[in-house]
Symmetry: C2
Subunit: 460 residues, 2 copies
């Protein structure tokens, strides 16, 4: 549960009516058919020429090389890779079938860091838990030799806020099941689609717990399993998962800069992550985010050299545990950041502006709000932004953070599935993202004063 440490003052922003009337009157303040060719070139290129780029693999290394070349070709300065070591896990075979009472195959995919079965797999009874809390309440040892199943179905929300709660089935469920002696665990996909394309994602094993085979079941298969379970007979599954650990390999953070005119001012950091899950092509997660961040930096530069340096951070190894974000924060602990924001939620239209300085720097907040209102983005001064996965350096420094909330109503249809492909990126929505980012980055990169004064979020 997140909570601000002080009561927010009631804020009201008087936006001038004219800020909604841009020169071009298209939807979201963009000309009809708006298309950002540079942003599209990035996401089209990386999905076509690289595709999946799992953290710590040669594919991620190829993605770094490709990206550094792209950044150099587009005029960025100080393009570099900061390598760091990670523990690397790779997927193997994955097959599952109901073997009794109604034999038929079902579609699963291993969760990141899942344990492995033998090549022959395991065959075990399924025990149904409606929620992660129900699993947590199961008596110790009650799952010995069985496969736990958590059926909790995620809801779609515009701001994606249900992911934290429902995602506990994936993040904590396997560890809980392992502690109770389960032979394996299957969870209903943390996703809102009805496709037979399960959602992968990393799971966390508590200290000292031996990983067990852990997989996501597609939503239609979860529905089918629950219909079988509702008939009252014992349902048994055969599960084959053969992922393996490669040990320590190298990942890296790619950074590049638009150099500002005043080197004494802390930089504006625009972040995204370069790695992707192996089963998709990393279009919405997070090719689009990197396209938005890099292109916004270029668009600001087109208006003339900014006061502050704009640095883009294409973090490595985000999906498998925020390795890059942590490594970057540690390596740059002594370098103050001016302000940061991140794109890692697809390419849906940005609809809301959040910061952690609306109370401490209301004048700047108001200017940002006015800069984006014409794009259909409204300020939410009552929300204290805490930033995305790749902004550890901002949080660690208690520095200013902006969140440009994208519409994620359909994001979790695709997130961490094979369906994360270029065709899911709407070019006009991508262009709106770039325009909003450019507006915000332009204001921040030309801000002469101290942006600092961020509200602090504490976990209760």
């Amino acid at each position: 549960m997140k909570k601000t440490v002080f009561a927010l003052a009631a804020l009201s922003l008087a936006l001038p009516a004219t800020s909604f009337a841009q020169d071009n009157n298209g939807r979201y303040g963009l000309p009809p058919g708006a298309h950002d060719e540079i942003a599209w070139d990035f996401v089209e290129g990386i999905t076509t020429e690289i595709g999946p780029r799992l953290a710590g693999t040669v594919d991620e290394a190829r993605a770094r090389e490709w990206t550094m070349e792209w950044l150099r070709n587009h005029g960025f300065a100080n393009v570099m890779n900061e390598p760091f070591p990670i523990q690397t896990w790779v997927r193997g075979e994955e097959q599952a079938r109901i073997i009794a009472p109604f034999p038929q195959p079902v579609v699963v995919t291993a969760l990141g860091y899942s344990g492995a079965t033998s090549a022959q797999g395991i065959r075990a009874e399924i025990v149904h838990f409606a929620t992660t809390d129900e699993l947590r309440a199961a008596p110790e040892g009650s799952l010995a030799g069985k496969i736990a199943y958590i059926g909790h179905a995620m809801r779609a929300t515009q701001d994606g806020s249900h992911y934290g709660y429902f995602g506990s089935a994936r993040r904590q469920g396997p560890g809980i099941a392992a502690q109770k002696g389960a032979a394996g665990i299957i969870i209903r996909s943390i996703g809102t689609d009805d496709d037979r394309l399960p959602h992968t994602g990393a799971t966390n094993w508590p200290e000292g717990v031996t990983p067990i085979p852990a997989a996501a079941l597609s939503n239609p298969d979860a529905d089918n399993l629950e219909r079988m379970l509702a008939r009252g007979e014992t349902v048994a599954m055969e599960l084959v998962l053969t992922p393996r650990h490669l040990g320590e390999t190298m990942s890296g953070n790619v950074t590049a800069e638009i150099v500002g005119s005043d080197a004494s001012l802390p930089p504006v950091l625009l972040a995204c992550h370069l790695d992707s899950w192996d089963i998709g092509t990393g279009a919405i997660d997070d090719g689009a985010g990197c396209a938005i961040a890099a292109t916004a930096a270029l668009r600001v530069a087109e208006e003339g050299q900014p006061l502050r340096t704009i640095r883009v951070l294409f973090a490595g190894a985000e999906e498998t545990g925020l390795w890059g974000s942590r490594a970057y924060s540690a390596a740059h602990a002594d370098e103050p950041m001016g302000v940061g924001f991140e794109s890692d939620f697809g390419a849906g239209l940005i609809w809301r502006l959040e910061t952690n300085f609306s109370r401490t720097n209301p004048a700047l907040f108001s200017r940002l709000a006015q800069a984006v209102a014409g794009y259909g983005v409204l300020p939410a001064p009552q929300i204290v932004a805490s930033g995305g996965a790749d902004l550890n350096i901002l949080r660690d420094q208690q520095a200013p953070i902006v969140d440009l909330q994208q519409d994620g109503s359909r994001y979790f249809d695709l997130h961490h599935t094979a369906n994360d492909t270029l065709d899911k990126v709407d070019p006009t929505e991508l262009a709106q993202n770039v325009a909003v980012w450019t507006a915000v980055a332009g204001v921040l990169a030309n801000e002469p004063g101290d942006i600092r004064g961020a509200d602090i979020i504490v976990e209760e």
Copy 2:
């Protein structure tokens, strides 16, 4: 090309205004939230308790047993299985990846009757053809050692009529490629979705042609491949497909009856097919169709014993070549059929009534039109129905046929994919189908006169 052998007289149907005003005024003439529990029970049951039921396999045999029990439990008479032999093909491993210039995995599924690669697969250059006709025009031998790719993208239509044309890439493309010496063939999925779930389906090998490995590529992967090809470099693929032939195994046609009061009148045949492709669960193709046919027969019987016998035909082995339809026609060549219709296009709303007797029996056509108008179904007297895959017996006998056209706008998103699951069946739309079928079957089963006089369709 289909063409009637005579010019249709201009027909106009004067429908009474009252036929659109039913007792219940819900959408499509159904009460709000309409749900047909019997039809739902069938499609829910067969997808949950049987699931995939590929022609000629033990799964199809289990489906026959399950269905016969269901039919007996619901009061059908003369429930039986008429076995027939088929040549059975089963899927093996299927994997593909682009190996140059942009290595990444792509998602394929073998076409029915595809040839096999070795377990190590083949590695070959891809040659792009925009259409099947382009492939047909390639010089003999020009594909030696290469993999042909046909990129033609199917369009969605309400009546599904584009399937015939675009489907030629699947039906004829592999045979053409084999004749030109190709090492294999990949086609863009014959489907209208953007999921990474390729569409399987049978292909036809011309007499004397040795099958080559043949697979469908999902639409997002086809898009990606075409982006690679557009960059102008040679694109090469590794393809592993290991399907195999089981030789001759048994399939069967399940039939059951609502016995009519006048045994001298030829029966009304309500058809569907019981087999399904192996990668889905056969919900829309064709569990829903069998649910509609069987339930309509029961609903007519609820109104009292009909004059004619209503027979349901749950054909076997439709997907792999209409084996059941042909076997049934041959076995019952000497038994005249009164009239037949079929459901094999999902469970979308019925929107159009077609027959092959609007010209020869306009009075009956008019009564059918009036019976269904309240459900939002309008007559199309200008269209000469030729019936679906399982109605060979009607065509062979030049007998009357009815087509109750369903809305197939989204059918080819799911058809022959893993996504053919129960959640894709809308219960209210299923109920509308049953209501329309019941209305039509009720009129026909109580028709004392000769329904015959069908227009003949000839293939040019």
